[in-house]
Each structure stands twice: as structure tokens, then as C-alpha cells.
């Protein structure tokens, strides 16, 4: 089983941690998916909802919830720390937090600092473990 690179680029705000906690309590095991660098959405689904495969990379965790990104996206995001936060407004698509009138967003700090993570290292780690057996890295 491929291991995930330990230096996770993902951090989170208290609002994001509170929201994922509330959603976990309501729905059980979850997963998060970054939906493109264009009109960036972060979609929150039940853990077994979206089939994860060789096109997805595991970027990090929010609590014990994995955040996935597509391999086509990762080169764009690499380098700067990524921050998962919550914004007001109905969630997008089939995201679980939609009815609450808030939604997750992912931002990266403007790349003025030296890179803290490398896309190639994460890609070399291979496709993510299956969602059921995936476990959080040290944060």
C-alpha cells in the first residue's frame, strides 16, 4: 500500500474544523474533494460516495476527513500552504453542507514564501489508499 508523503500542505481554520465536526456528527464518515482551480469549490461527500482512483491524490486531512485533488490540478496548487476555510453562501453541487448556507473553500497563500511541498513527491506516492482504510497522517 502506497504511503502518503508526511509533510501535509493542508491547514485549516477553526470555522472549517467546526463545520466538518458538525457534518461528521450528522452524516458519519466523510471525504472532501477539491473541484478545480477554476471557481474553486470544495465538495464534501459521504466517504464512499465518489469513486477515488488513479486520477486523485490525497493532499491532507481536515480532522479525520481526507481531502482529495485531481492529478491534473496538483501542479497548480503546489508550493504554498493550502488553507481550508468556510465561506457564507449555499454550498455547490451535491456538497453536504449546502443546506446550511455555508460552504468550504480552499485557498493558497500567495507564493512569496519558498515552497513547502512538492507535487512530484505526492504524485510519486501513487494513488491514495481506499477511503475506508485511509487514516490521518501526523498533523
Amino acid at each position: 500500500m502506497a504511503t502518503v508523503v508526511t509533510a501535509t500542505p493542508l491547514t485549516s481554520t477553526p470555522a472549517a474544523r467546526d463545520l466538518i465536526g458538525a457534518l461528521r456528527a450528522e452524516h458519519g464518515a466523510l471525504s472532501l474533494h477539491v473541484s478545480g482551480r477554476y471557481g474553486v469549490s470544495v465538495i464534501c461527500l459521504k466517504a464512499d460516495e465518489l469513486a477515488i482512483g488513479s486520477r486523485d491524490v490525497l493532499i491532507g486531512h481536515l480532522g479525520d476527513v481526507p481531502l482529495y485533488m485531481m492529478t491534473s490540478e496538483i501542479k497548480y496548487w503546489e508550493g504554498s500552504p493550502l488553507i481550508i476555510d468556510v465561506s457564507r453562501g449555499i454550498g455547490h453541487g451535491f456538497s453536504l453542507e449546502g443546506p446550511r448556507g455555508v460552504h468550504f473553500i480552499l485557498t493558497k497563500r500567495v507564493a512569496t514564501e519558498k515552497p513547502v511541498w512538492d507535487a512530484d513527491a505526492i504524485l510519486a506516492a501513487g494513488p491514495p489508499p481506499s477511503i475506508q482504510s485511509g487514516s490521518p497522517t501526523d498533523d
Binding site: G36, Y38, S87, F94
Partner: protein
């Protein structure tokens, strides 16, 4: 102004404080009895309540659609066309009223809903009414004894999920071909803009046989998902964001049904040096083409939000382009002279403002705009932003990310190869614009761009009969063209033998 508009509207068409679902030709309350409040972006205040539907309501809608589908499939193309034309006529006689409702629900200015959204929506029914009457199957003589007859047959019951940026137009783009082709529909509007389609149902709902068109409002995860996953639809169509598009394809694969998707884009608008060869009406048109990033407040998947201007004309062009953008009139969306209205939600507004800040932090220059706009009066708390031009380079986030607002990022280019590389350096491939007086360059460049729509010496035209859809991750399938009928039909081949003789196998 809003109250005056609502009074005027309610004298001529029904405006309800609360909308149930439209199922089987009736207004049906949501099974669990829940509603949510729909705000108008014009003022940020509540406009109406709308059904917060769940899987139970989707099942009711599917029941009604399945009940209606056999009779609708047997209805002649001429009769279906007559009904679609009647819908178009009714919409046209209430054009101003529907335009007002669309402005209230979405925030876009009435100048646009009257000139673009509603006329295009109306025309779409007329277009497909014509297409379906002119459609033929085919016959092939296989050999002296064997003839293959090909018939177009409807799929049956289809599900459709639409976005909030052109609520009525996106509905009509999907409904017209599906219904023309003989299908019954369950439509789930966007939760941000659930009202205008329901006003339309009050207006034209009784023209269609009950159950042919059913509209169920609600949140994506609560109402959209049970529709997309349902075993009782023969096809799903979706316009929206990428991960949900992926999920929809997955559900479609579970049910082994076709799906068509439109997932967004990041469109380049390319101005070659020769556009400024003369200071004539074409140059003026090119300047308007640059300003097209402001259409629909930039909330369009094909927003020309990346402008590439040839270095030889850059300064001259930009001086005029900035002046042109500064003339864009901001104001109350119901005022007929207002050119740019409200962003669809506070959330959209905040996202745009944060991108402008990101642009500044990245070193982009703000050539005009760059701030939230306060439109005085009842609109003071509405969601308005100034049309903004950012100058930078293609590596910046404001060049790469979809801002979905009236913000254009502009950069210079030297060679055709460089422009093509920048244009194609995106995961998406929905729209693009080319401006040049040289027909050969336009042709070669347009064929080389990896996008489904290449506007050449124009932008933001969406006539019926011009196919629209994406390359790469922008989606699957094409809309606004008679080829859509194929997406909503299946082919029956009757292979008929006129020979009485056995083959000799058994």
C-alpha cells in the same frame, strides 16, 4: 422600485409568496413540508419561499412523468411543435414581465434580460419546434429482400439539473430539445435562483399535457442527488461544477444511462495587432468585445476573463479599452439604462473582492475599478462590484482561476505561437474569442484552439443552431443545435425481411 415592479408583475402574472413544486400539472407541496427563503441579490432581501424538496418529491415527479410519457411519445411532431410554439408565443407576450422576474431572482440588469435572456429562451422553443418537424429517420436497402428502417424514439423520462447564472435560459436550453424529442422531464433548478422558472410554470404550465414537465426545487444534496441517482430516468443532463459532474457521470454509469455535462471554463479573448489598423467601427467593436467580461456580471462559464493583446497595439488599445469599461453604467437592475447589475449572492461578491485583493498582492496593476460598488437607494445592501481590469501575466492566480465576476486580467503577447500556447494552457475548453482582420489567421488559429466555441470577431453570441459545448474538462455533449435531439433520442432499427425462405442454418 422593487415593490413597484412586484405590484406591476402581480397584476398580470401570478406571483406567489411561496412556491410549491410543479408536478403533474399541479402545484404540489413538498412531502416533508419544508421550505427555504429565496433572496433577491438586487437588495439582499427575501423575495419568496420555495419548496425544500427531498427524494420523496422526486419520486412524485417521476411518477407523473412516467404516467405521461407514453402519450407524449405518441404525440405527433407537428402537435409537439404546435405546443412548443404556443409556449414561445405566451412567453413573448409576457416578455417584459418574465424579464423583470429574472432580474429580481438573479440580479442581472433588465436591459440584458429583455435583450438577451428572454428572446433567446423564447427562440429556443421555436427552433426545436422547427427541428423536430424537419427530422426524418432513414431507410437503407440492405439487399433485394432486406430493408433497414431507422426511427428516432424518445428516451422516456429524463432528469435535468441547471445552474443559477441564466436561470430561464438554461432551463429552456435543456427543456426545449428534451420535450421536442418526445420525452418527459423532471427539472431541478438551482437553489440560488428557484423562482423565475416557477413564475414561468404559472404562465405556461397548462399548455403542456400534465406530467410532461415537472419542476422540483430544493438543495443539491437533498433534491438534485436523488434525481441524478434515480433508476427511473433514462438520461441525466447537468450544468455546474466539476466534482458534481464527476459524481453524475458515476451515477449514470451505475444506471447505464447517457449523460451530458457542461462544467465551466476559463476563456481567452485574443486581440491581434491588426484590429487597430484603423480607428473604424470594427476597432470600436473590438473594444466592446474586450468589455464583454462584464456581461452578466461576469457570471458566465465563457466569461472572457483573460485578455491577450498584441504588444504592438497594447498601449493604444488599453487606453481606449479602459475608457470603454469606465462607461459601463452601474445602477439599479430594474432601471432600463443600467448595464451591469448585482452579483448573484453575497458569497459571489466576497469571492470577487478577495480575488481582486489576491491580484494586488500578486503584483497585478488595477487599471480601473477594483472596489465594491454601492448603488444608492434600496439597493445599498445589494451585491455590486465595479467592472475591473487587472494587468499582469498568465502565471498569476487571477489569470488562472475562475473569478466569476466582472474582472478581466489582461496581458501582452508577442507571437501567434505564444498566444496559442496561453489560450490552450488550461484544463478547460469551452469558449474563446479571436479578433483579427485577417481571415486566414482567424481560420488557422480558430482550428488550433482547443475549445468548443471559438467566437471570431464577436463574443457572447448564443444563437440557436450554433452548437455550444466543451472540449477537455468543460464537458460532454453539445447544446443549442439540432444535434441535441440525438442526445434525447435513441435509434430503433427495424430490420425487415421480405423473403419467405429459411436461411439454411437450422
Amino acid at each position: 422600485m422593487i415593490q413597484q415592479a412586484l405590484n406591476e408583475l402581480s397584476q398580470q402574472i401570478r406571483i406567489r409568496p411561496r412556491y410549491d413544486n410543479f408536478i403533474g400539472g399541479q402545484w404540489v407541496a413538498p412531502v416533508k413540508g419544508q421550505y427555504f427563503t429565496n433572496l433577491t441579490p438586487v437588495t439582499g432581501k427575501p423575495l419568496c419561499d420555495v419548496a425544500r424538496s427531498t427524494a420523496e418529491d422526486i419520486e412524485l415527479a417521476l411518477d407523473a412523468a412516467h404516467k405521461a410519457k407514453d402519450a407524449w411519445a405518441k404525440t405527433s411532431p407537428a402537435e409537439r411543435a404546435r405546443i412548443l410554439n404556443k409556449i414561445a408565443d405566451k412567453m413573448e407576450s409576457s416578455l417584459k414581465l418574465l424579464a423583470m422576474v429574472e432580474t429580481l431572482d438573479n440580479g442581472k440588469p433588465i436591459r440584458e434580460t429583455m435583450a438577451a435572456d428572454l428572446p433567446l429562451a423564447i427562440d429556443h422553443f421555436r427552433y426545436f419546434a422547427g427541428c423536430v418537424r424537419a427530422q426524418e429517420g432513414s431507410i437503407a436497402e440492405i439487399d433485394h429482400d432486406t430493408v433497414a428502417y431507422h426511427f428516432h424514439e424518445p428516451l422516456g423520462v429524463v432528469g435535468q439539473i441547471i445552474p443559477w447564472n441564466f436561470p430561464l435560459l438554461m432551463a429552456c436550453w435543456k427543456l426545449a430539445p428534451a420535450i421536442a424529442a418526445g420525452n418527459c422531464v423532471v427539472l431541478k433548478p438551482a437553489e440560488q435562483t428557484p423562482m423565475s422558472i416557477m413564475v414561468l410554470m404559472d404562465l405556461v404550465g397548462d399548455i403542456l399535457p400534465p406530467g410532461v414537465l415537472n419542476v422540483v426545487n430544493g438543495f443539491g444534496v437533498e433534491a438534485g442527488k436523488p434525481l441524478a441517482q434515480n433508476k427511473r430516468i433514462a438520461k441525466i443532463a447537468f450544468t455546474g461544477e466539476t466534482t458534481t459532474g464527476r459524481l453524475i457521470m458515476q451515477y449514470a454509469s451505475e444506471n447505464i444511462i447517457p449523460c451530458t455535462l457542461e462544467l465551466g471554463g476559463k476563456s481567452p479573448n485574443i486581440f491581434f495587432g491588426d484590429v487597430a489598423a484603423a480607428d473604424d467601427e470594427f476597432f470600436d467593436k473590438a473594444l466592446e468585445g474586450f468589455a464583454m467580461f462584464a456581461l452578466n456580471q461576469g457570471e458566465v462559464c465563457t466569461c472572457p476573463s483573460r485578455a491577450l493583446v498584441h504588444e504592438s497595439i497594447y498601449d493604444r488599445f488599453m487606453e481606449r479599452a479602459i475608457a470603454r469599461v469606465r462607461k459601463i453604467k452601474q445602477g439599479h437592475p430594474l432601471d432600463a439604462s443600467t448595464m451591469i447589475g448585482a452579483q448573484a449572492s453575497n458569497d459571489q461578491l466576497e469571492k470577487i473582492l478577495s480575488y481582486i485583493k489576491i491580484g494586488r498582492d500578486e503584483g497585478a496593476r488595477v487599471l480601473t475599478g477594483g472596489e465594491r460598488a454601492i448603488v444608492d437607494g434600496e439597493t445599498a445592501e445589494g451585491f455590486y462590484v465595479q467592472p475591473t481590469i487587472l494587468e499582469g501575466n498568465n502565471k498569476m492566480r487571477v489569470f488562472q482561476e475562475e473569478i466569476f465576476g466582472p474582472v478581466v486580467s489582461v496581458t501582452r503577447f508577442k507571437t501567434d505561437e505564444e498566444a496559442l500556447a496561453i489560450a490552450n494552457d488550461t484544463l478547460y475548453g469551452l469558449g474563446s474569442g479571436i479578433w483579427t482582420r485577417d481571415g486566414t489567421r482567424a481560420y488557422r488559429f480558430g482550428r488550433a484552439i482547443q475549445a468548443g466555441r471559438v467566437w471570431t470577431n464577436c463574443y457572447h453570441l448564443y444563437p440557436a443552431h450554433a452548437a455550444f459545448g466543451g472540449y477537455k474538462q468543460s464537458g460532454i455533449g453539445r447544446e443549442t443545435h439540432k444535434m441535441m435531439l440525438d442526445h434525447y433520442q435513441q435509434t430503433k432499427n427495424m430490420l425487415v425481411s421480405y423473403s419467405p425462405k429459411a436461411l439454411g442454418f437450422f
